[in-house]
Every structure is written in structure tokens, then in C-alpha cells.
Symmetry: C2
Subunit: 358 residues, 2 copies
DNA sequence: TTGTACGCGTTATCAA
DNA sequence: TTGATAACGCGTACAA
């Protein structure tokens, strides 16, 4: 103690710095700070009597070890950074839950940021996380513009796992849904049922999953020898309302589609609404058969859909768990000399024809 | 520089500690660490020339300031702790998004933990967050057992806001939905329509919102002079399936209810399923009128319900925003002498009679 | 078994 | 305007 024993404005050890420290606990227990540290780390070589005194002091003072200072010294923050494009989307909520579950099992916490599909925001979040010395990152990339912020150099060597979407030019561990196969199976189902005019409703073309799902859709057509009908392909609907509008337009065509493949749950919901409304208006008169829907992703109450519906189902929590597991495998392999090449995992999907069985 | 210029095991400045430090940047720019710190904090009083040198060095080294060490010295972590009972529930996902939005606006990050409705886990999470020196906490309490871990003493003075549920014996800022009024209005609607045998489907009695919603339900009955029918009250369904079973039982009664109030979206979904199935089985024969449903909470695709439905709607994101705003108001008022008493805010609900207008 | 000395990376304070 | 010094709270290494 050299200087600054008392601040001139009189705040000191009352509400000043707030939390108590090892020093305080040590003083209260009549031991050195080191002994306190040992007790808190569950060390073996402490006399039971001292241990009890320390534990009593901890309880008495309501002491919480400063994990911040601790991680500074130990060189591991116990933190995993997670950026998601939209947490409010139930799918990504499940993803986050999966990540959190695995992180908790490894005694880590997650820092979560919403990128809002905005690459600039994503860059800020990742930069901040790196500054906070997260031990690893799980990113659902917004996937537009250059991804320099996801390059190893920008990450300062922090391991990265991409979830749900890949990014061109970024060589990182990646966990995806088997989008191509799911879309392929969905389209094949419709083609087998005899449909030849099948509409496609999907995301913006720039969205990775959107591209892949369209690829599967097209592939199924090629194999069946049925051409994809250009005027029935609508890409760019990011929310339920625009999907509904797109479907309504399609239904109003002179030669409307007899079936539709919707490439995500936003578009499925929009399509169902449009079809249900059209149905209601025709009130069974026209005699035209109801438009058939097969959609990617599942959603609550799907089994009560007023429209004939099949779904390509997959597990968001599992996606999150896998991503987190891959990250921790990287962390554990960090000491080794030979670094593994980035891995790509594609999780299986399940085509549910009868949605009541979801 | 006294000692420790080189570790005996030869790892040093190669891949050793990994990230570069202010020291490195200072050396590279030929200035003192303090000048680097000033530049990074956007300080005014630095010669442009030096500033440029520093900025170049930062870029060159890919330097990220260590927010951990920084917060140790500055005594503010820039972190807000959030515990939620179940992130996978879309409602709480929205809540989290609201919190994150406000936190981001205040340049804070959120640490998120899933308590899984488990008080023990909640206690661990809160303890860890306090140890990480979060500046504040937003908790959706699991609300069973004693809540000693939410007492000011256990929190070491960290401000707390309870969201969605209150906790007996905990005097903290709280943001709730106006559960009582919502349930009251829902029940009143049904009573006005002439129903006198109204079922109630709700949460476990121990869940705070469940109690409040039952209170509103009962109050409406009292005012209308209609008794609550005991055999039609089912509390304890925590998921869709058990809710469906409960509703199925009610429909099988000799004198089944003509309407049901469901106290949350799990129960609403279950009730709708049960009614839809019963409907289908009778296939319009019996001539009995369809059971009317009014539910608390909204959900996707509600407008396509096969059963006549009204809902008590409210905004999860707004709840999250309000909770976070209250927290930051506390933080800003932290310096002042007089501490405000804990505040209770109840957010309004909206009775949507025609669900197509949601 | 226990304690002492020092360093982790940063910034507040004060002196130049 | 810039730099030296100390301190934030903790853990490691080593000495007692």
C-alpha cells in the first residue's frame, strides 16, 4: 500500500468496488490469498481446518471469484461466441439451444449476438468476440459480401465452425443440413405423384441454403426427364407475407401449378395461407384439385394444415450440438502438431409424407 | 523488463501466447503502450502522425484489444447475463432477441444460459454470471423452491430484472404480461357469448403465470355470476401432448364443456388438436356444436386453425426490450444516492377475436 | 502444507 | 502531448 489509501470523495470499501476479493476472504479467514485460491480450485493439500475457515468466509462475504481476472491469468476465457442471423426464428432458437447444451457440458458459456443477416453487424460481433478472447466461434453466416472477417488471420487463430450455411473462400469446419438431398426427395415425391408443373418458392438466391435446395429440386426434374417450368420459380421471399403474395400470383396464372415445393418454413407458411384462402373463395365450386404442397423445414401445428402437406424434416438442436462438438474437438486437438483439414458434415433429413406422423 | 525474457522451453512469440498485445503494437509503432491505448479509445490529444503509426501497426498485427483485461482495469465488463427457462420456446426466443437488441444499442453483449426450468441450474448460471462480473442480469425465473440466489446479497449488488414471471420474496424490477386482465377478458368474451361450462387448461399450479391467468379466469366468472366448474379445470399440462390428452378427456365427459380457455400456447395447441380429431371422428354427424377456444399467447399459423379461435396476444420482443431498458435505467442511476424502489411493469395484452386479423 | 513474488494485458494517475 | 508507474484480481512457480 503506497498511495491512494482513501479516495477524497469518501467512497471506499462501502459500495466502492462492490465485490469482495481473495484478499478479503483471506483476511476474514486468517490465511493467505493463496490458500483461498487453493480451496476454491478444490485443491487437495489444505488442512481441513483452514479449508473450513475459508469456506465459511466465502459464504459470509458472498464471495464470487472473478472469472474475468481468473481467465486473464489462466489464458482461457471459458467463453464461446455465437452469432446467429435471427434468434427469433424458432429454427435458430433450437440451434442455439443445441450449442448451449454442449457448451454447458464442457463448462463453457455462450456469448450470443444477432447479426440480422447483416454482414457488417456480423463483422462487428465476431471482432468483439475475438477481443473478448472467446475460445471458439460458431457462426451462422449471413453470407453476403466478402468474408474477410472469417479468415483465420482476422480471427487471431480462434477456431471457427460454420453452422447451417457454408461460405465461399472460408476453409472452416462446417455443419450443414443435407439440403440437396432433401429438396431432391421432395421434388421426386411430387414427380412420382405425376405432377409436371411444380412451383418453387424459395429464399433470395444469395442465401446458401436456397441455392442448394434449388439444385436438388432441379436435379430431381432432370432425372425424371421433366423440365423445370421457369415461370413457376419464385426466389426472393424472405418472409411469410411475400411468400403468400408469390403463391397467390402463381395460383392466378392461366395454367397454375398443380403442386409446389417450398424451400423453407417461411415460404411453406405463405403458400399454405394463399392456397387456403383461394380454396375458401372457390368454395369447392370450381372442382379444380387442391394444390399439393411439399415443404422444407418443419413447424408447429403442421399436422393441422388445411392443405395436403408433406415435409422435409430436420433437427435444429442436433445441428447445434454437432457444430459445438466439432468446435470442442478442435479445441482439444489444439495442442497437437498436425492440424486436421477442415471437415464438412451434412446432417440427414427425413421426408415425412404424412404430416400427422411428425 | 526485469526477468523472464525467454522461457526455457523455447516457446515465445511464435505461437506461444497467440494474440498480440499493446506492448507489441507500441513497439511496432515506436511509441509507449499508453499512446496505443489512447488511440484505441479514440482519444483527442494524440499527434496525428503518431496516431497513424499506431493504426498502421494495429492493422499490420491484426491486433484485437483484450476486452477481458480491459474490463478488469475499467471495472465494467460490458456483459449482461440472461437466463431463460427454455430458449427453444419461440416465445422466449423473441424475448431474448428483444434483450439483445437493447443491449447491443448500449454496446453490451449478452451471456445466455438455459435453465431448463431447473432452479439448481439457474442458481449455477446466476452464480457464474456474477463471477464473470456481468453488469446486470435478466432472469426468467424457473420459480420453484427458495430463491436465495436471486437475493441482493447473493448477487453481490448486481442489478436484476425479472422477466415474464415474478418471484415471491424477491424485490427486484419486474416486467410481466398483464396475465390477469388477459385471462379476464378471454373468459368474459366466452361468458358474453353465453357459455356457462367453460373448461380451463393451464400450466402447473406452481408456475407464476398459470396462477395469474387462473385468477383472471375466476374473476370473470365471479363478476358474471357464473360458477367455475371444478371438473373442467385442468392444471399441470406443460406440453402439447398432455394438453391434448386433457382436452380429449374433457370432451368425453357426459356433459362436456361448450368452450375452453387455454392459458398458454402449449395448451392451446393441444386443445385444438383434440377438438380437431374429435370433430373429424364425429364427421359432422352428431350435430353437437364445435367447442369454442380462446387461448393465451399467439402462435404461427393461428389464422389457419381448423377450430373457431380467439387469442390473447402479446409481444415477447417488447417484453425483452422493456426488461433490458429497465436494467439500463438502473445502471445509469447506480451512482445516485437515493435508490429507487423496485418497479413492476405490466405490459398490455390484446384480445384478438378474429384470428385472421392477427 | 503454506506463503511470497511476480506476471497476465490493460488503463488511471500523475509527472514531464 | 507523451510516458512511467502502479494497480485491477487472480494463479503459477518456487521458497519456506
Amino acid at each position: 500500500m503506497t498511495a491512494g489509501a482513501d479516495a477524497p470523495d469518501g467512497r471506499r470499501r462501502t459500495r466502492g468496488s462492490g465485490a469482495s476479493t481473495v484478499q478479503d476472504v483471506a483476511a476474514e479467514a486468517g490465511v493467505s490469498p493463496m490458500t483461498v485460491s487453493r480451496v476454491l480450485s478444490g485443491a487437495q493439500h489444505v488442512r481441513p481446518e483452514l479449508r473450513e475457515r475459508v469456506e465459511a468466509a466465502v459464504l459470509h462475504l458472498g464471495y464470487h471469484r472473478d472469472e474475468n481476472a481468473r481467465s486473464l491469468r489462466r489464458r482461457r476465457s471459458g467463453l464461446i461466441g455465437v452469432t446467429i442471423t435471427n434468434i427469433a426464428n424458432p429454427y435458430y432458437a433450437g440451434l442455439q439451444r443445441g450449442i448451449e447444451e454442449v457448451a454447458a457440458r464442457h463448462e463453457r458459456r455462450i456469448l450470443v449476438g444477432n447479426s440480422n443477416e447483416d454482414p457488417v453487424r456480423e463483422r462487428q460481433l465476431v471482432g468483439d468476440f475475438v477481443g473478448r478472447r472467446v475460445e471458439g466461434l460458431v457462426v451462422v453466416p449471413s453470407g453476403q459480401g466478402p468474408a474477410t472477417h472469417l479468415q483465420p488471420k482476422a480471427l487471431g487463430g480462434v477456431p471457427l465452425v460454420l453452422a447451417s450455411r457454408a461460405v465461399e473462400g472460408v476453409d472452416a469446419d462446417t455443419v450443414l443440413i443435407d439440403d440437396v438431398r432433401g429438396a431432391y426427395e421432395a421434388a421426386t415425391l411430387l414427380l412420382r405423384e405425376g405432377h409436371t408443373r411444380i412451383a418453387f418458392l424459395g429464399n433470395r438466391v444469395s442465401v446458401f441454403t436456397g441455392q442448394r435446395r434449388f439444385a436438388g429440386f432441379r436435379q430431381a426434374h432432370e432425372e425424371a426427364g421433366v423440365p423445370v417450368v421457369g415461370e413457376l420459380v419464385r426466389q426472393g421471399q424472405q418472409d411469410v407475407d411475400s411468400a403468400r403474395e408469390a403463391m397467390t400470383e402463381l395460383l392466378a396464372l392461366d395454367d397454375p401449378p398443380t403442386a409446389v415445393f417450398t424451400a423453407n418454413n417461411r415460404n411453406t407458411l405463405g403458400a399454405i395461407r394463399a392456397i387456403a384462402v383461394a380454396e375458401r373463395d372457390r368454395s369447392g365450386a370450381g372442382g379444380r384439385r387442391q394444390t399439393r404442397v411439399v415443404g422444407f423445414d418443419s413447424f408447429e401445428l403442421a399436422d393441422l394444415s388445411p392443405v395436403a402437406l408433406s415435409l422435409v424434416d430436420h433437427d435444429a438442436e442436433e445441428l447445434g450440438r454437432q457444430a459445438a462438438e466439432m468446435l470442442f474437438e478442435r479445441l482439444e486437438a489444439a495442442g497437437e502438431d498436425e492440424q486436421q483439414a477442415p471437415r464438412l458434415v451434412e446432417l440427414p433429413v427425413r421426408l415425412v409424407e404424412d404430416v400427422a406422423r411428425l
